[in-house]
């Protein structure tokens, strides 16, 4: 069976009431045979084919299956956010984004692997073991929505929901050659999204074409009474945006985002894409931003501060991990949290606790919030003159496993292109524009608040000019896993951390 894009699947399903069931069945088989080497799913919905059959007449999606990041609550399907501390937690309710997809006729195929509580840019910080890049299994797929991007790139799901705080949709989209959209803050309800940094978290789609992103955004976007930060701003016609002409638009390349520190391969592919955009009749200029360097520091202070507060709820009493109770409340909580959280999560909780503690609040946390204001003002000013701002999505090609996690700063630095839009709450998209040394490269477009339409329009024109939807990954066979990779893989097997997919039906 040919692996369709979401749009193709929906069209097939409209005319053939058995199509979605067959597709769901085929994808589950494909996941069982291919995913052991990728580790993109951590729970599968074995009832997906049956559910697809019952939704055959329900539009607009007609039972077509989609994958969902494991930080997004799914009723009846285990939801762990990639953490040991939530093991065994089966939410009694759906996140609004999931509920809206289901009402639109979608079936949840399974839950995708991720950096624990979205804390990571490589997909390696998961209690269920690292996800691998389908283009080259010795490399990371990017994070934190690692499994969503890897699954879409490998043709294990037509599309997926991810969530983006500092780049968690855009980074893995770029590293896997897929399209990823971070909507404006407030455009999609966060109800049911397990919180990392609430002032920046946004749910967004990952797919192999711009049209697929538009389909999902049209369904999940909009005000939700269950999330008071969801925006009442009117929705745009996202499907209509796909047909818009972009000639005559004025856009700008952010100078500091293509300069030193950006890999030569990435620069080459980026400028080639910029040429393509110019060829569409777009006026491309250059803009300089002063506060980018401080933006990264600001992001890590703010995100960690919010995380330390959000993760205070994990107490081993109400859900998830619950070891034998002994000692008093304090020692029990400290023990559960010590056992349940992974290393990167512990570091960010400690960092967040530090910057919020007496003596450091003003010189670090408040300073970070002020930098956030400056970054936002600067971006808003640039976006008054230009419809979109352009940069590479990631400054590097996908690193090898282990290459970036040994030194925390070297991983944080990878987020330098993606965090400014997060701080400012602006929408941003990563569009796959080519490959260097066989590895995907993405370009990032940042737009005005609540103007996802312009991002989709430019992405659609670029996609068209580059030959249509992204291909399914074909692994490079030239680089067998190193000795280190083999050791790493065996460690994950021997620790018993990788579960077999849990066959949980949805009530």
């Amino acid at each position: 069976m040919r692996i369709p894009t979401l749009w193709e699947a929906v069209r097939e399903a409209e005319s053939d009431p058995r199509y979605s069931e067959e597709l769901a069945h085929h994808l589950l088989e494909r996941i069982r045979s291919m995913d052991p080497s990728l580790n993109s799913f951590i729970a599968l919905n074995d009832a997906a084919p049956e559910q697809a059959r019952s939704l055959a007449g329900v539009g607009p999606l007609h039972g077509v299956p989609v994958a969902v990041k494991d930080s997004i609550s799914t009723r009846g399907l285990e939801t762990t956010a990639g953490s040991r501390i939530l093991r065994g937690y089966v939410p009694p309710y759906d996140a609004t984004a999931v509920a809206r997809l289901r009402s639109a006729g979608a079936v949840v195929l399974g839950k995708t692997n991720m950096d624990e509580f979205s804390m990571g840019s490589t997909g390696e910080n998961s209690a269920f073991g690292p996800t691998r890049n389908p283009w080259d299994a010795s490399r990371v797929p990017g994070g934190s929505s690692s499994g969503s991007a890897a699954a879409v790139a490998a043709g294990l799901a037509p599309a997926a929901l991810g969530a983006d705080t500092g780049g968690s949709v855009r980074c893995p989209a770029s590293f896997t050659g897929t399209f990823g959209l971070r909507p404006s803050y407030g455009r999609v309800s966060r109800y049911g999204l397990i919180a990392y940094a609430s002032s920046m978290d946004q749910i967004g789609p990952i797919a192999r074409s711009t049209r697929d992103l538009a389909i999902i955004l049209s369904i999940v976007a909009g005000r939700d009474p269950m999330d008071s930060t969801s925006s009442p701003a009117p929705l745009q016609d996202y499907m209509g945006a796909l047909e818009r002409d972009v000639s005559g638009w004025k856009v700008a390349v952010v100078k500091e985002m293509v300069g030193p520190g950006v890999d030569d391969h990435v620069q080459r592919e980026f400028w080639r894409a910029v040429d393509t955009i110019s060829g569409l009749g777009v006026d491309v200029e250059e803009v300089s931003l002063r506060w980018l360097d401080e933006a990264l520091a600001s992001y890590y202070v703010i995100a960690s501060a919010e995380a330390s507060s959000n993760l205070a709820r994990y107490d081993g009493l109400r859900y998830g991990l619950s070891p034998q109770q002994s000692g008093d409340w304090r020692s029990y909580f400290a023990k559960v949290r010590g056992e349940g959280f992974g290393r990167e999560v512990k570091i960010r909780i400690m960092l967040g606790t530090y910057v919020l503690s007496a003596g450091f609040y003003e010189e670090l946390y408040l300073k970070a919030l002020k930098v956030r204001r400056l970054v936002t003002d600067e971006l808003s000013l640039a976006l008054k003159r230009y419809s979109l701002l352009l940069s590479p999505t990631m400054p590097v090609l996908p690193p090898r496993l282990g290459e970036r996690t040994a030194d925390p700063l070297s991983m944080y630095m990878m987020d330098v292109e993606t965090v400014p839009a997060s701080l400012a709450g602006l929408p941003a998209i990563s569009v796959p524009v080519g490959r260097a040394a066989g590895l995907p490269v993405g370009i990032q477009l940042v737009g005005r608040s609540m103007d996802e339409g312009s991002l989709l329009a430019m992405s659609a024109r670029l996609e068209e000019a580059l030959g249509g939807p992204a291909p399914i990954a074909s692994p490079r066979c030239s680089s067998p896993p190193s000795k280190y990779q083999v050791i790493l893989a065996s460690l994950h097997l021997s620790t018993g951390d990788k579960r077999s997919p849990s066959p949980t039906g949805i009530p």
Binding site: V90, P92, S184, Y185, G186, S199, M200, S228, T229, S230, S231, E294, A297, S298, V301, S308, A312, G316, L317, R318, Y319, L321, S322, Q325, G327, D328, W329, Y332, F333, A334, K335, R337, G338, F341, R343, K346, I347, I349, M350, L351, T353, Y354, V355, S357, F360, E363, L364, L366, K367, A368, L369, K370, V371, R373, T376, P408, L409, Y412, G425, S449
Partner: protein
């Protein structure tokens, strides 16, 4: 920057093994050194920005949801009837 890990562990209610503690100290020191670049900035007069969007608070009607309490309580690992069982108070 001074780093009193014991104090932070108490505030964060987080137990760390001896190995972990050394690792966390090493990494945290490095991160804090990097974040130090924020300290030297003179940002007086700049308003801190807590959230993007600046959405005004809005409330939904205070109507109880019809959700089966037993279904919700099923996620609680240790309970007695409809009570959550916790460790002893100190």
């Amino acid at each position: 920057m001074s780093l009193d890990l014991d104090h932070l562990k108490r505030l964060a209610m987080l137990e760390l093994s001896a190995d972990e503690e050394a690792e966390v100290r090493r990494r945290l020191s490095k991160i804090l050194e990097y974040l130090g670049k924020l300290r030297s900035l003179d940002l007086s007069g700049v308003e801190p920005m807590y959230a993007a969007g600046e959405a005004e608070a809005s409330y939904r009607p205070d109507v109880p949801e019809s959700r089966d309490p037993d279904e919700v309580l099923r996620v609680v690992p240790r309970r007695k009837d409809r009570y959550v069982r916790g460790p002893k108070m100190a």
